[in-house]
Point group: C2
Chain length 282, copies 2
């Protein structure tokens, strides 16, 4: 069964005697990437809470809050078609923002070492909004684990740090990027793209892959080589919002201690901003 709850108090009542809960926080418009998170949770917890809430505090003033796809009925249908085995899904999708934010949030969160790079450059305040909503969901649901995709890798790192410090009792589980047959990383924002744009969007993934291949096929100071190639790539195409090579363990510049790299990019097709990344051991 996948049952729907719209009130925080009802959700609390439903889960109050549960001691093993998986949480999958989403903004809805579920695709295979989300469903994979849910499947992971179902395999590990008798109860999975899937939250569907388009969180206003993580959108910038000129971003797509109002047009963000809201498809609750289809989302629930997709969840109902999952193989639940002996586990249960509770969908929490508040109609009223006050169920999450009884008062407008005044407390801001920041993690300076993980900010001022990647998405934070284009979306100031975004990660504060993410932490504000995750705080409330963690507090409301007290899950044992919470599942996040690796597509938004910076978000994953921020939530890992956030949870480690503020909710050490909750385990953060990372789930690999799910891709369409073309290789395009799945995203609710892919719905904004027409077929031609979807082809254009492959530049993002293909560029990441080429850079990674070049890293491994070059002989010396690969990091510098890739950085030069990144600069060249960006300078030739202004649709890049960012493209960067960082230490995947801390999002700092790669150093002699680095064992895992990330190449991450954001690419804008008309008004649609897409992100993707590739992480690899060296």
């Amino acid at each position: 069964m996948a049952t729907l709850t719209t009130k925080a108090i009802e959700l609390k009542n439903k889960i109050k005697n549960q001691s093993n809960i998986g949480l999958v926080p989403t903004m809805g418009n579920l695709h295979e990437g989300h469903l994979n998170l849910v499947r992971e949770s179902l395999s590990q917890h008798p109860i999975t809470v899937v939250t569907i809430f388009v969180n206003p505090t993580q959108f910038g003033k000129n971003e797509d809050l109002s047009s963000y796809p809201r498809t609750l009925d289809e989302d629930i249908e997709k969840l109902r078609q999952l193989d639940l085995k002996n586990s249960e899904i509770i969908v929490f999708s508040p109609k009223d923002e006050k169920e999450i934010y009884p008062s407008a949030p005044l407390i801001n969160f920041s993690i300076s070492s993980l900010e001022n790079k990647l998405c934070d450059l284009n979306r100031p305040g975004h990660f504060n909004g993410v932490m504000q909503v995750i705080y409330r969901l963690f507090k409301l649901i007290s899950p044992n684990s919470a599942y996040f995709g690796e597509k938004d890798y910076q978000q994953l790192m921020i939530i890992k740090t956030f949870s480690h410090e503020l909710f050490p009792e909750i385990e953060i589980k990372a789930v690999p990027i799910k891709r369409e047959a073309s290789g395009l990383a799945m995203s609710s924002r892919n719905n904004y793209l027409n077929d031609d744009e979807k082809v254009d969007a492959l530049i993002l993934k293909n560029t990441l892959n080429s850079l990674k291949q070049n890293y491994f096929s070059s002989n010396e100071s690969s990091v510098n080589l890739i950085k030069e190639q990144i600069d060249k790539t960006i300078s030739k195409d202004d649709r890049w919002q960012y493209l960067d090579l960082l230490d995947a363990d801390n999002l700092l510049a790669p150093s002699a201690k680095t064992t895992k790299l990330i190449i991450a990019g954001a690419y804008k097709i008309n008004n649609v901003r897409l992100i993707d990344n590739t992480v690899f051991n060296i």
Copy 2:
């Protein structure tokens, strides 16, 4: 009984079956101001946890972290002399910072509407440090109420907002300023002052009182009058760190809606920074 615990895990065990706990967070060097907070808590809860921890994250680089008075034995003795009636005090005073911060804090908290004024002007980062330690104490102890003095009024407002948003289940109780016979607001930092300096320090309290009296004795636009007097006062004596008149309900500039004012000041005697305030209905 007032028993001492130095480990977080021991504290957790001691309070795990308690459902009615009062918390008095302190940095030690207890004076009558602190003891009043403890008395309040004792009158309302069977268990009072008094924490004694000189929190490094709320001190600036050039502040008095290393010289801050540490007097644990005397503190415990003072607590033991309180009239406990049927209640119990548990003192939690970690020897190792790791009991509070298992890892160095990376999450920063801010509340912009309550910052950039009063103490925050002189002590950037101070309130972030306060929120960092209060977060950990609230999470560790899960008290029903927590007690704070009104002397650090901005801290009180910040903690009320912080708790309202992040720990709505905890009630914040404000306790009036306790003063020495001279009128000087009690403070652990008064220990730094010699007798002459203690006389000088009365300038702080006396100025606040005069301004308040002038407010009530003037006929028209009292707020502007007091603001002019504040400017004059500060310009004549560079020991003022700040002196300000604000709406006591939100720390904004007084408006037509204001019903309660605060005049707050920080005054520096040699290297000792003292704060005080007066709050009054209009």
